[in-house]
Subunit: 220 residues, 2 copies
């Protein structure tokens, strides 16, 4: 399996990363092809598609330590489900599948949004999204159905002036997914989510997210 | 990349195979896990999902002879598109992606329909279809849009009594996709499609498909 490209994203740490693609539309990425696969001919016609599939490698998982069951965070982290009934990274082959919005193609690079991948993630394949085969509004989502649309209310208790409007939107959308480990319930506990050069410090109370501080780590 | 399972289907040859999953709902398959990955715990909760993603290996392609452009059969076979704008098997990593209907799980095996894979195809991963991230009715399909719903009229000029109702439906649905190479236009030319033990002989005239003969190859 060859690495054909890598994606640049604003997430250098796993904490806060959306659990699925598309959940945080404002999280952007840029797919940069490896020299051997950089050929604009290979992208001919792709600009007519609004969405693409990206098949990629879960970093830090080699598939050798997979377990038949996993605890999906969406179920509170205390219920075990079969690994093939989840999108967990800890699976026999650490392959991720993401549906991304294709914003534009420029200089042979793909600008995408709705990412759920860490900065530098290796990519194996890119395919167009085909509505006729890939879009199934009649599908039944199993145990994921009830939790799919859950989002948390987010309140900023601090100054957000150092963020652009787009950055603020991305931070808000990520926190609406409430990334804190759901088995941890200590109130007042502060979590830190890294986004770009920012450290976003927040706590969770009564299923709401409160941002206490946003620090720009690049400013000394 | 480990082979976790193989799929049994009724198609032993490539000719006639649907170009995408879901196009021939009546084409069935059974996913049988390799001994090392056969564990019913790994499927816990999957039965609640109506559809699954299957990530698999394109047989006969190793990715070393990929070309940046390919000729999608849907465009008449004479127009070149970038390989990443198509689902062509001849790509840097010969990975296929299919969305299959999960009919039932029995004895740790997955019964699926809408397959587009040859009998014995090796499978790398199985994931649940999640409507919230995977279903995009607003997506724009690019050059595939116009051709997506094209189907051909199919007329049986021969006896079909040896087929069950389900088999007849499968044959009809496959031929509605008109599997004959679109750059070949000789009328009266007979094509043979293998399905189960049947050899379905047909010709194409004015974009309609006529079945001339169905032979059961297992009957001597």
């Amino acid at each position: 399996m060859k690495i054909i490209a890598k994606i640049k994203t604003d997430m250098k740490e796993k904490f806060g990363l959306p659990r699925q693609s598309g959940l945080v539309p404002e999280l952007k990425g840029k797919i940069v092809f490896e020299p051997e696969y950089k050929d604009e001919n290979a992208l001919r016609g792709l600009d007519g598609f609004s969405h693409i599939w990206v098949i990629w490698r879960f970093d830090g998982f080699d598939g050798n330590k997979w377990s038949p069951t996993v605890r999906p965070p969406r179920l509170g982290g205390n219920k075990r489900m079969g690994v093939f009934a989840t999108r967990s990274p800890n699976r026999p082959n650490p392959i991720g599948l993401s549906l991304l919005k294709l914003d534009k193609i420029e200089d042979g690079e793909l600008y995408v949004s709705g990412v759920d991948m860490m900065d530098g993630t290796a990519i194996y394949d890119i395919k167009p999204y085909l509505k006729i085969s890939d879009c199934r509004p009649d599908a039944i989502d199993g145990f994921a159905e009830d939790t799919a649309e859950q989002t948390s209310n987010v309140t900023f208790e601090c100054d957000t002036d150092m963020l652009t409007k787009a950055e603020l939107k991305a931070v808000k959308q990520m926190l609406e997914q409430d990334p804190h480990p759901s088995y941890k319930t200590e109130p007042d506990r502060l979590y830190g989510m890294k986004y770009k050069d920012f450290n976003v410090r927040f706590y969770v109370k009564d299923a709401c997210v409160y941002v206490k501080e946003i620090k720009n780590d690049s400013v000394k």
